[in-house]
Subunit: 583 residues, 2 copies
């Protein structure tokens, strides 16, 4: 690649055999991206979260950021106004300076917030009966170009999944609190998407700089790489230095919702000493991040002081970072959590920018032994109370869930969540179904993720092979995303999502028809599929072979099966009884 | 490694921090291997299918084979006798000759078979109320050194899982047809194991030479490698040349049951032309393999001629190799399958050597679209009929299952199998829960495998990342086995297997206590876990660090949680109410 030094190494270009298509809105002037995969029997259209990076002629300049494809509805309506932003402080970047300071993003427009007295959240508009551009955008994406249902034989466990998603349906689900569109009005680069159990199961990928300083190119590329493989949202869990500036670079280049855990940055601002946290520092951090455009905040407001003792006999105590930080604060000060006490004030901030809540499960189980215990469920019930507080403030809410849960205890998590959190979308980390496979926890958790997705979880937070062991690298991120995409898809199939099976069927027809390239291209990871095939059958001609290296031509069941089909058709012509099961 | 050229490169030596221990029998002079993993809080004892290869001072000579640790019970009782073996023919090795012929295994003792009129199967003995050494051996393994149940909160779906497995319990399960011990009397190298839904879920790994000629060392090593990572049985699916000789090398060095699909070799003997198959060739192949010591045969006798038409509208037709071969034969000859018509004669052969049946699902679905269709279930009902025929002949039986099945249709597979196959053990391939992830089908299928294992499947046939794409290499085999071990373990946990959670708990305590080495060693793949940790924290001192690279010391929830526990204990001393949930 012959690039000038100033152009970052962002992965660009379409996936194999794929082209972007844009569908127009009916109600609003929007262009909704979808991906069309060309095959020998026509194109298959699929959801596309990858943003402009996969356009064939993508002109990406991360220092300019993506085009503001979304002009927030609230601004158009005159219900939001710009104002002078909070001043960036040295503490915002962990006091990084000189060569260690990641440069600020070049552009800094004034932030928007709701004009006084206005509720500008998607929930407020939905309740008012208004279909926003964000709702129509999300609705069109969900249908993946379909005009009818493909297959409807799943078990949705009470989720009411329509044949086709209309903008009005999205509105109604949001109004009911059963879905959210995370869409900060300060994130105009966003391609809006909807999270709720009546919709396709979504996948979140975590990225973060951790303790090691990274460049802005590297951080943007992490996000681009994750969405290339299908991540629907990305959480920036950076800690240490430069997190303000890195977040700006990510947001300005992010077509997907970006989530954060503001507590991490607040802790950095007080030198990493949990006891020194205060409402003032935390509140300042919320405003800082809301002005930047963060779409959803993980807030561990459900962990109350009185619950901490419930973890005393656990095998793995408190494994949530945010949860453990707040527990430490509560114990040190002998006080209730300020996140709980100040929750209405937090809602007021989120409401002004339409930052969605991801109410954090600080007491999620970190081991099979601790699954579904009283600590976990006490917090879950509190999260349900907080959801109602947030809804009263017109704030959008989802609820975070575990963690480590054996298979037979997964359904109870969903049932309890639906019951106590009033159908607010559930967003779970896995869950891991056993503790004994470090190095393979993307798989131990994909099992739990697919199941809980089937049962009704709206978004799955990915787990990479490095979970519990180290920082995921580029390959780990890809493995984690693809693993979770397949788990989410398995859940969509089992729920009876009306479009899900079309892709399976197209791939299986390609497989049965020995259309190898189509089989690769219809898969979640065409590159890996093709590379695996090349290992034993590298020649181009093998991509048209009527067999593969596994069985060879004599033993190819697909080949024989096609011969049988021909023979059976011939036999059926002369002797139909020979083919009946009563023979 | 400084080895002479004649010593094959077989992977030897214990897994990290592990030692073999042998438990004696109470009824029989047996020594049952278990693996003890040393940790900072004492040893954890686990099931061990790896055979003598993991002894610290293993003296392995593959040209001599393993010691005959099992002296078949029938021989001791004088109910089996040696006889001159069937002569090996050139066709047995696919007419390989000269340099292409893999040498015959050096030793060829006369085979054993039942004396006339005797039933020497484990089922016959169980029905007679006899506890064989094989039964006691298998029983002791199941308990993993436990003397009491560890945890019992699962949902077993009707499986009656005892706190401790006694030899008598194994006998009773076998007598009821609910379990099998695959143990050909000509496989004295075997360490017997039991397959049934009241026992730990087992994993099978497939190996095979396919079309490329391999050396005998390579083929033996494939088996040794698979059992090192936990495969409980191994199927040799070799085709092409040398399959007789390679099978001998594998069997004489195999401490686990070896399964085959005799149809593959029979097809080779007739030049790969399915239409030229005959009962005589097939029968000859059964005897050939039974004399060698194959422990279980996959036999696709349930695919009847009349069912073939039921596949005509499938998306992926017939995807079982054995199924497609037999379907082709039936259509060509316009006749019922000779496997079905001759099933009683097949039973007579299997009965004479105690070869167990793995009744093959030739009509398993090869795509989500074809799951649970009439073709599949018509065959399943026939397999249930055949199980009763086999039982009437004192033959042990398990039933093969799918395949590709979306999550919401998995339970029906188990329910139908239990109902129509009279609780004969179920042995499934996955099932894959979506078709759209070639390159990741170990994961799409681990989801289904874990679920169907929970519901009652007794053994899971692994799937590697190369499924549908190519031949698995060494890494793929390991990935497949470890993935299936974690799926089987997740199933054991969910069923409430009384010992399963002990290992999870030990690993989680190690994790919470920052005993990194223990965490690695208690995992299914210590090498990979350690390597992943080394990538970001390579120093030895990091293995005692009170944090890891993911969050760093300030954000380590485990560290904070331990601080909290200390603080909570202190606070509880002075202010217990501060820790109650009513606070």
């Amino acid at each position: 690649m012959n690039r000038p030094d100033t152009v970052p190494q962002i992965t660009l270009g379409p996936l194999p055999a794929s082209e972007k298509t844009y569908m127009p809105g009916r109600l609003h002037p929007i262009r909704v991206p979808l991906r069309r995969i060309a095959t020998g029997e026509g194109a298959v259209t699929v959801y596309d979260s990858s943003g402009p990076y996969t356009e064939p002629d993508a002109r990406i300049d991360i220092a300019a950021g993506l085009a503001p494809v979304r002009l927030p509805f609230a601004r158009d309506r005159g219900e939001a106004e710009t104002y002078p932003a909070r001043a960036v402080t040295a503490a915002d970047n962990g006091f990084a300076e000189g060569a260690r300071l990641v440069p600020a993003f070049p552009l800094r427009p004034e932030p928007l917030r709701a004009t006084a007295g206005r509720a500008i959240t998607q929930l407020a508009y939905a309740r008012a009966g208004i279909v926003t551009p964000e709702m129509e955008f999300a609705a069109i994406r969900e249908n993946e170009g379909r005009t009818a249902a493909h297959s409807r034989d799943g078990e949705p466990f009470g989720a009411e999944i329509p044949d086709l998603v209309t903008p009005e349906f999205v509105r109604d689900e949001i109004a009911a609190g059963r879905a959210i569109i995370p869409a900060n009005i300060n994130h105009p680069e966003l391609e809006p998407m909807v999270i709720g159990r009546a919709f396709k199961v979504k996948v979140n990928a975590n990225i973060g700089n951790s303790a090691i300083t990274s460049s802005m190119e590297e951080e943007v590329e992490k996000m681009v790489w994750a969405i290339r493989w299908g991540a629907d949202t990305v959480m920036d869990l950076s800690t240490g230095r430069n997190i303000h500036n890195i977040r700006d670079w990510i947001l300005r280049n992010a077509p997907v919702p970006i989530g954060t855990v503001p507590l991490y940055q607040a802790l950095e601002k007080v030198g990493g000493v949990a006891e020194d946290l205060s409402w003032e520092v935390y509140r300042d951090t919320l405003i800082e991040q809301a002005e930047q455009g963060v779409d959803y905040f993980t807030i561990h407001a459900g962990l109350r002081r009185g619950m901490i003792g419930l973890t005393a006999r656990r095998v793995t105590g408190i494994v949530s970072r945010g949860g453990s930080i707040m527990a430490k604060w509560c114990l040190h000060h002998g006080r209730e959590s300020f996140l709980y006490e100040r929750f209405e004030e937090i809602c007021d901030i989120c409401r002004a920018y339409d930052v969605s809540f991801s109410l954090g499960d600080g007491l999620r189980p970190g081991s099979i032994a601790d699954a579904n215990d009283e600590a976990q469920f006490a917090e879950l019930r509190t999260l349900g109370e907080l959801a109602q507080v947030a809804w009263a403030k017109d704030c959008q809410v989802m609820i975070e869930g575990p963690g480590h849960v054996p298979m037979h205890k997964i359904k109870a998590n969903m049932d309890e969540q639906l019951k106590h959190c009033h159908e607010a979308p559930f967003y779970t980390l896995g869950p891991l179904t056993t503790d004994i496979a470090p190095g393979y926890d993307h798989i131990t958790s994909a099992i739990g993720a697919a199941m809980i997705g089937w049962f009704g979880t709206a978004m799955l937070c990915y787990v990479t092979p490095k979970e519990h062991l180290g920082l995921p690298d580029r390959d780990d991120v890809k493995t984690g995303v693809v693993t979770y995409k397949l788990a989410a898809h398995a859940a969509d199939l089992a729920k009876g999502h009306p479009g899900a099976q079309a892709r399976d069927d197209a791939l299986s027809r390609a497989r049965f028809g020995f259309r190898w390239e189509d089989q690769f291209n219809l898969g979640l990871d065409p590159d890996t599929a093709r590379a695996f095939h090349d290992e034993t059958m590298p020649k181009a001609a093998h991509k048209e072979a009527q067999f593969c290296s596994m069985c060879g031509p004599k033993f190819c069941s697909m080949k024989i099966s096609q011969d049988i089909r021909d023979a059976a058709a011939a036999e059926a012509g002369t002797c139909p009884n020979g083919l009946s099961p009563e023979d």
